[in-house]
C-alpha cells in the first residue's frame, strides 16, 4: 500500500531521510560505545601504571612505563585465596541448590496432591522478600550455631535465596515434559524416585544449566551476606577482596585497578566463550517480575 502511493520524489525524499536517521543513529551508537568502554579503558590502563603515573601524565595518557608489578603484588598478597574461596562457596551452593530445587519442582509440576497449589504459591511468594530484611536474624543464627566467620555460613543463605526463583522456573520447565514418559516408565517398573533420577532430571538439563549460570553469577558477586558473615581476611570471598586491598593500599590506585581487572576477567572470559548461553542465563532472572 505504502509503496504504491509513493511517487518518485517521495521515494527519494524518504531515502534521504532514512540516511540522515541512520547517520544520527550511528553517531549515537558510537557515543554509547565510548561511554561503555571508557571505564574499562581507565581500569586496564591504570592497572599497568606506576603509582603516581596518572596524576603526572593525565588520565588519557598511556602508561609510561608499562609495569606488571601491580599484578605481581596483588597475587603475592593472596588474590587467588579469595578467588579459590569464592569458587568453593559457589560450587557447593550451586550443586545443592540445583538438586534441591529439582527435588521440589518435580512433585509441584507432576503430582496431584491437596497442598500442591498452596506450597507452590508459598515458594513463589518468597521471590519478593528482600534479603536485607533477613540480614540481622541470619547474623544472629550464624553466631548462635558457631558458623560466624566461616565459609559454611554463606551456603545456607545462598541456597535458600536462590531456591524460590529456581523452583518457579523448573516447575514451569518440567510441566512441558510429556506425561507419557513417566507412564511408560511406570509400566516398566520404575517408581517415582527412579523416574525422577533417570527420566525427569536428565530431561531438565537445559533448564538446570540456565539456572546454574544465573545463580552462579549472582552468588559469585554476592556482597551483603559475605560482608556481614565473614570478618577475617583469610576467610573472605572475592567481592570482599576489593575492600580488603583498598584498606591496605588506599593511596595506591594501580594496585586496586589490578585487583579489579583480575576479578572482572573470569566473567569476561566466560562471556567470550559462551556468549549467547551466558546472556540467556543471566537474563533468567527477568521472569521474576
Amino acid at each position: 500500500m505504502i509503496k504504491e502511493n509513493m511517487n518518485e520524489v517521495d521515494y527519494r525524499k524518504s531515502k534521504i531521510k532514512s540516511r540522515i536517521a541512520w547517520t544520527i543513529a550511528i553517531i549515537f551508537a558510537c557515543l554509547m560505545l565510548v561511554l561503555t568502554l571508557a571505564p574499562f579503558f581507565f581500569m586496564i590502563m591504570n592497572s599497568f601504571r606506576k603509582q603516581f603515573d596518572m596524576l603526572q601524565q593525565g588520565v588519557f595518557h598511556l602508561p609510561d612505563p608499562w609495569i606488571i608489578e601491580n599484578y605481581v603484588e596483588v597475587i603475592e598478597k593472596g588474590f587467588f585465596g579469595y578467588f579459590l574461596r569464592s569458587v568453593i562457596v559457589v560450587a557447593i551452593s550451586l550443586v545443592l541448590m540445583l538438586i534441591i530445587s529439582a527435588f521440589a519442582a518435580y512433585p509441584l509440576s507432576r503430582m496431584k496432591f491437596k497442598l500442591n497449589p498452596w506450597i507452590y504459591a508459598l515458594i513463589v511468594a518468597m521471590m519478593s522478600v528482600p534479603m536485607h530484611v533477613t540480614l540481622i536474624p541470619i547474623f544472629k543464627l550464624t553466631t548462635a550455631v558457631g558458623f560466624y566467620d566461616s565459609l559454611k555460613s554463606l551456603i545456607g543463605p545462598y541456597v535458600a535465596f536462590a531456591l524460590p526463583m529456581s523452583v518457579f522456573i523448573l516447575t514451569a520447565f518440567m510441566k512441558t515434559i510429556p506425561k507419557e514418559i513417566e507412564e511408560s516408565a511406570e509400566i516398566d517398573g520404575c517408581n517415582r524416585y527412579k523416574n525422577f533420577f533417570f527420566m525427569i532430571l536428565p530431561l531438565s538439563k537445559s533448564g538446570l544449566s540456565t539456572l546454574a549460570i544465573y545463580n552462579g553469577v549472582s552468588m559469585w558477586n554476592e556482597f551483603a551476606f559475605a560482608n556481614t558473615l565473614l570478618i577475617s581476611p583469610q576467610n573472605k570471598t572475592l567481592p570482599l577482596a576489593l575492600g580488603q586491598f583498598k584498606g591496605e593500599h588506599a593511596m595506591n590506585m594501580p594496585i586496586i585497578m589490578a585487583v579489579l581487572t583480575l576479578s572482572v576477567l573470569p566473567m569476561i572470559i566466560l562471556f567470550i566463550i559462551f556468549q549467547d548461553k551466558l546472556v540467556k542465563g543471566m537474563m533468567a532472572g527477568a521472569v521474576k517480575g
Binding site: 521440589a104 533477613t134 544472629k140 551483603a224 585497578m257 537474563m283
Partner: protein, 303 residues
C-alpha cells in the same frame, strides 16, 4: 463400611503420592523456612527490643522503636532517595535500553560488535563497579575532571561524589551504566519473540523496517514494558551493594538508601533493635509498593 476395591486402590495411590511429594519437598521447604520465613518473622520480633546484637541482655521496649521510626527524618529521607533512584532508573535505563535494542534489531547481524560491547557493564559486579567509578570519577585527575580541563583549557576539578546534590545523581548515572545492558537484552528478546510472519506481512504491504518497528513492534512490546518497569521499581527499592561501596550513604546522608541506613545502624553502630525496625519498615514499604503497582497496571491491562 467396607470400601470397594477400586476406591481403596485410588486412596493408596493418593497416599503414596502425598508421601513422595513430602520427601521431595522437605529440603526446599526446610531451607526456605530457616533462612527466609523465620528471619522475616524474627526481624519483626527484634524490632520490639533494644539490643546491640552481641550481648545476651536485650530489653523489651514495645513499640518504642516503631514510634522512633515514624519520626525518623533520616529514614524518610532514605526512602525519598530510594524513590528518586526509582524514578530515574525507570526514566533512564528502560528508554535507553529500548533505544539500543531497537537500533540492534533494525541493524541486524552486522551490529553484533555493538551488542557485545554494550553488554559488558552488566558482566561486572556492583561492588567492582563501585570501586571502579570511585577512582574513575576522582575529583583530581578523574575522567570527568580531565575532560572538563581539556574543554575549559585550564585545570578544573569536578567533585562528583563528594558534594551533596551531585553524589546522588552521579550514583544514578552509574546505575544506568550498569543496568541499561540488562534492559537492552530484555527488549531484544521482546523483539525476537514477535512472530516473524507479522514482519513478513508488513514488508509485503510495503512497510520499511523503521515503519514496522514504529507502528507494529513497539506497540506489541507493551506487556514487556510493564514487566521491565516492575523489575526496575523493585530493584531500586532494594539497592545496596554499589552505594555501600561507593559512598556508604554519604556525604552527609545525601545518598543514604533504606538498605544502607539499616546496615549502618545494625552492623556499624550495633543498634540491631532499631536496625531491625528499619528493615521491617523497608519490608512493609517494598511489599506495599509492589502490590499497588501490580494492581494499578493490571487494571490498565484489562481494557
Amino acid at each position: 463400611m467396607k470400601k470397594d476395591n477400586k476406591l481403596g486402590l485410588a486412596q493408596a495411590k493418593a497416599r503414596s503420592t502425598a508421601r513422595a511429594a513430602t520427601v521431595f519437598l522437605i529440603p526446599a521447604l526446610l531451607l526456605i523456612t530457616i533462612f527466609i520465613i523465620y528471619p522475616v518473622i524474627d526481624t519483626f520480633v527484634i524490632s520490639g527490643y533494644k539490643w546491640n546484637g552481641i550481648s545476651s541482655d536485650r530489653f523489651f521496649v514495645g513499640m518504642d522503636n516503631w514510634k522512633t521510626l515514624i519520626h525518623d527524618e533520616m529514614f524518610w529521607k532514605s526512602f525519598k532517595h530510594n524513590l528518586i533512584v526509582m524514578v530515574f532508573s525507570i526514566l533512564l535505563q528502560i528508554p535507553l535500553g529500548m533505544l539500543l535494542a531497537t537500533f540492534l534489531d533494525a541493524g541486524g547481524k552486522k551490529f553484533n560488535l555493538f551488542k557485545v560491547i554494550w553488554f559488558l557493564p552488566y558482566l561486572i559486579s556492583s561492588v567492582a563497579i563501585a570501586f571502579l567509578f570511585n577512582y574513575a570519577l576522582m575529583t583530581n585527575g578523574g575522567i570527568v575532571s580531565s575532560l572538563a580541563t581539556i574543554i575549559k583549557g585550564q585545570k578544573t576539578n569536578i567533585d562528583l561524589l563528594g558534594t551533596a546534590p551531585n553524589a546522588l545523581y552521579t550514583v544514578i548515572g552509574v546505575m544506568a551504566w550498569q543496568f541499561t545492558p540488562f534492559y537492552m537484552v530484555y527488549f531484544m528478546a521482546g523483539y525476537g519473540n514477535i512472530d516473524t510472519t507479522i514482519y513478513e506481512a508488513a514488508v509485503i504491504d510495503g512497510a520499511t523496517r523503521w515503519q514496522y518497528i514504529k507502528h507494529i513492534a513497539i506497540p506489541l512490546l507493551g506487556p514487556i514494558f510493564k514487566t521491565a518497569c516492575t523489575m526496575s521499581l523493585i530493584g531500586s527499592l532494594k539497592y545496596f551493594d554499589m552505594i555501600w561501596n561507593m559512598t556508604q550513604g554519604g556525604p552527609a546522608g545525601s545518598t543514604e538508601l533504606m538498605a544502607t541506613y539499616m546496615y549502618k545502624l545494625s552492623f556499624q553502630q550495633f543498634n540491631m533493635g532499631y536496625g531491625s525496625t528499619v528493615a521491617a519498615g523497608m519490608f512493609i514499604l517494598i511489599t506495599a509498593i509492589a502490590l499497588i503497582f501490580n494492581k494499578v497496571f493490571k487494571v490498565k491491562e484489562d481494557y
